[in-house]
Symmetry: C3
Subunit: 139 residues, 3 copies
């Protein structure tokens, strides 16, 4: 069994943003030389997500409004977590809805995807450096 | 390390439905001959889910109402994604709540499940052919 | 490829609670002797979650209120599942928001975590014995 590890770094100025990282994950897969196995891609920070969906800007705007409706940022005083001096409690909720990680099959050296699947980094508390971990195991 | 890949196909007439796919995943596991490892089961489409919960029709009716409350289908004009000509933006949200994939342990050649765990395909935008990927790795 | 399996048992008196299980998962990893691979940690029951987030009591109180807002326990008669004699339909919804499982990379014999990542068992229908499965594969 072979394994390969890579970190992707982000520093997004906006509080919230979605970044397509599919080509970076594919690059890590090529570097690994692994042909059959599994790729884990996870946010290493707890106010961010990695998820798979469509690369369509209208949909991303819809996600932004919908998540803000499910777990509003304001008023920040509504969350006990924010009494610690943070203002990012909502980001910890949004990340649970969108998920921490994805696991993707590797088949014949490629990400084994359906026609519209793309991998995104979801930032819900930007303005600081954060990481995504790519871990590939297989043969 | 061995690996095995299988696609399950669905064409559900209703917009939304839940289908128990546990026996199909077990069949793929038997075909693989793998005794110890991991199974990944994921929707290959971005308006569908694979999730694990109870096979109880009342619960599935509750999921249907609850997801419709969290991300209503109507009015379709409330979502920017639907300006592309689609009417399925709500399905992209429902799928995030229910999840894209499950990873299940394989132990002694069986899905290593608790007493009530069953695997479901969740369709949120039916009426077209869609696939689920089963990828098994191990020995 | 090596594999290791361990069950963690819980019997929480409260209906809802969060328990940090990071050190128990690390212990299972040490027992396995695996240096590079993946760990799957999943609830074996369908009214419980395993998730990764911050070990901060204010945040956990926020999760409790937020999940209760998204899927209220009362009135129990609002859910068809509860006509079976159960009163835990809300727990099946809360568990979908927080997730069934996490997959964590193993690198150099350690859980490959960002600075704040901690693994939690989330109980949404306590008062009975329940299990979490830890399955580790790698070399």
């Amino acid at each position: 069994m072979k394994s390969h590890r890579k970190e992707l770094w982000f520093h997004l100025p906006a509080r919230r943003a979605f970044v397509n990282i599919s080509s970076q994950v594919e690059e890590a897969l090529r570097e690994s030389g692994i042909r059959e196995g599994l790729v884990l891609v996870n946010a290493m920070h707890i106010t961010a997500s990695v998820f798979i969906n469509d690369d369509e800007s209208g949909l991303h705007a819809d996600y932004e409004s919908w998540l803000e409706r499910l777990a509003p940022h304001e008023p920040v005083g509504q969350y006990r977590h924010n009494r610690t001096g943070e203002d990012n409690a909502d980001a910890h909720m949004k990340r649970q809805v969108m998920g921490r990680e994805v696991v993707v099959a590797v088949t014949q050296g490629k990400l084994d995807f359906g026609p519209w699947e793309q991998i995104f980094y979801g930032e819900f508390d930007g303005g600081r450096r954060k990481r995504v971990l790519v871990k590939i195991i297989g043969e």
